[in-house]
Amino acid sequence: MHHATATALIDHLHAQDQMRVQTDYQTKSGITLPAALNAQLIPASRLLPKNRTVAEDELAAFFEAGLPSGSLHELRCAHSRDAGALAGFALTLLSRMNTHAHKPVLWICAPFADTSNMTLFPQGLANLGVDPDRLVIVTPLSVKHALWAADEAAKCTDLAAVILHIEGHPGALDMTATRRLNLRASESGTCVIILRQSSEEEANAAITRWYIAPRLSFQSQLHDGLKPDEGIGHTAFSVHLERNRQGATGTASVTWNHQIRGFSHVRYEDHTHAESPSAAEVPQHRIPHPANRQDQPSDMGQIVALPTQLGRSG
């Protein structure tokens, strides 16, 4: 449904190349972007290349409207030092979800094994466009309590999002737990996001799984008036949508434009050149899984039936 709507709109824009779109834009998850906000968006003719693919439509929808509510999503990054990019991208997606702008956000910080003693900085949040007064920070003493808190919060209908910030692959957050979170999120209509720091790819029940990496900032003379090598440009991320239950996957490098509080300069990349380490190092048929897990997912691939020899000796 929504691909048709997106395509129609984009064609309309290409045809007229207008700077402003007057009508409301319906996105995939049913969220309506009001026309006034559309007026501030960088025109789509500069947002998407002319010959775009389905993956690009998909990603564009996410960048414009944020993550759809009523489901579980996972964002991960490879190292703890990329935590800024991870949390930042999550918050920027959150700030794009306009329909829940007045509702609180629950941020559950599971205790980390190492001494990454980082807290959210409310002035930075306000700088990014997220009201720090909306945030409720929960700091339980164990991962088990953090998962319990996430389960309870997923049942709540008054939250804009529940963010579970964990590190690595705790044994308690397995396929059953993620399926339960997804179910609860769909019943209550809350958006549940798992932020996984320093992790590898793992199979779970999230609707979308993202891999976020920081990217050298995009410096453009057109927008900043800065020459290259002079200061830091707009915040840039390298985003790889690893899995999407309801659409296609893709990779993009996006820039967060602080002036308009939106994404811009999206450059889509081919899937084979993705930056996700798992794609490069690990053969395609196997998803690496953590070692401390009881229910290890089986190898994905072909099961070849071996011919059995009926018991005949000699």
Partner: protein, 508 residues
Amino acid sequence: MAVIASVKGALRLSALNQTARQAGLHKDQTLTDARAIVPKLDCHEADEAADAALLAAIADWCERYTPLLSIDTINGLPGLMLDITGCAHLFKGEDALRLDLISRLTAHGFVSNIAIAATPGAAWGIARYGDLDDSRIVATRAEREHVAPLPLEALRMAPKTVEELKQVGLKTIGCIVDLPRGPLSLRFGRPLLRRLDQALGREEETISPRMAVADLASERQFVDPISLQDDISRSILSLAGNLKPVLEKRALGARVLVLKLFRVDGERRMLSVVTANPEREPAHIEQLFQDRLASLHSPLDAGFGYDLIRLEIATSEPMLHQQADFVSKAPIADSYNALINRLGARLGTDRVQRFAMNDSHIPERSFGVLPSIRTSTAHSNASRTDMSQNMRTQAALSLADAEDVTELDTQLTRPILLLNRPEPVDVMAEIPEGLPQRFRWRKVLYEVAASEGPERIACEWWRDGRQALTRDYFKTEDRAGRRFWMFRLGLYDRESGRPHWYMHGLFP
């Protein structure tokens, strides 16, 4: 057997048991004398802290009778004072209450003297100095005849006054009751008369209870003690159901609820729950206590069972009755409030926090966290504090700047993650005030691709002293695109010889 303590420079006996008293020893006898009389005297060191703790435990358990009780240790004689006005009928009369208390204390191995009277003074005196054969329950306005035969120590006066009265020849209370009051107070002081009046009921005396007395409480006694978790939950549900109509009538809701569980064998356990908003619903209250029980480190040890469970409302707030709509299920903020209550009950109220702004320009001091349950609850309509108003006007201002002037940097100037303590970094930079070029943080080397700065944040000399150092903050980006916020502590020439660099935060 005796307990010895060092008094006035010599080891003396401070407490004796019955056999020691029968053998001829008495209190405050020196240990050497006592040993001379009874060579095989069993002596134990006096341990005041343990004695006080034991008395406190007994007081905790005696709360089953009444919440108004106090420990008094006047003149070194430990005891408890319970105000049982209006409670006696729950135990089928004062006599039955007294027998119940005596039997329980005796079962624990304590020897106790209990007296019930209309005034604390009379009860104190009769309990300690009264005749053992007498009935220990004194009716109202009959104190005079019961108190008269008691010695003067029963009036809780200083020993010096008692000595003086004895020298004059007054030995019992009956002697001084009828004396003219003017000369008595002149000679021996006003406290004597006050104590006398208190004992006889002419002057009011109230006891100050050990713990704050709850506004409302509902309790249930069990003939057959219960110990199962399910039974406890069900009794909490019914007790909360008893309290709900009273709360509704007074238009109150409970904020702090305390559950007291009294064990058969004398221990008492207390659990408290704090809610973010006034609560009345029994189901919610029971759920909160279940979460609280689940959060205990070790499960409740019921021993032989609980025979009294009391639910008290320690703090309550006005709460208007909410009209439930036929169409919608619940008021809109209900789900969020219930979630915050549950998280607070299970994880602890200090683990569910919100930001609060401080008036400081040092980044790590410019904000704090407050427990969510203490601040105002609703997110949509409630009034916000002034500080968060400042926060939002600041954010609004920065946006306004962005719209006006596009040439000035409208970049992100503050990181979103801040390290709790700035971590030292090895930086290679030009001196005196050059940008960093390469740095090593947490044993990883980073090459700087671009950087911005410095942003100078000076010290707070009124807090840290005049010697505190200035910070020059730089936003640096490495070759992979990670953006850091680090600062150099101290100006090169003016403040310190060799300034150090620290990492403070991460940008998105």
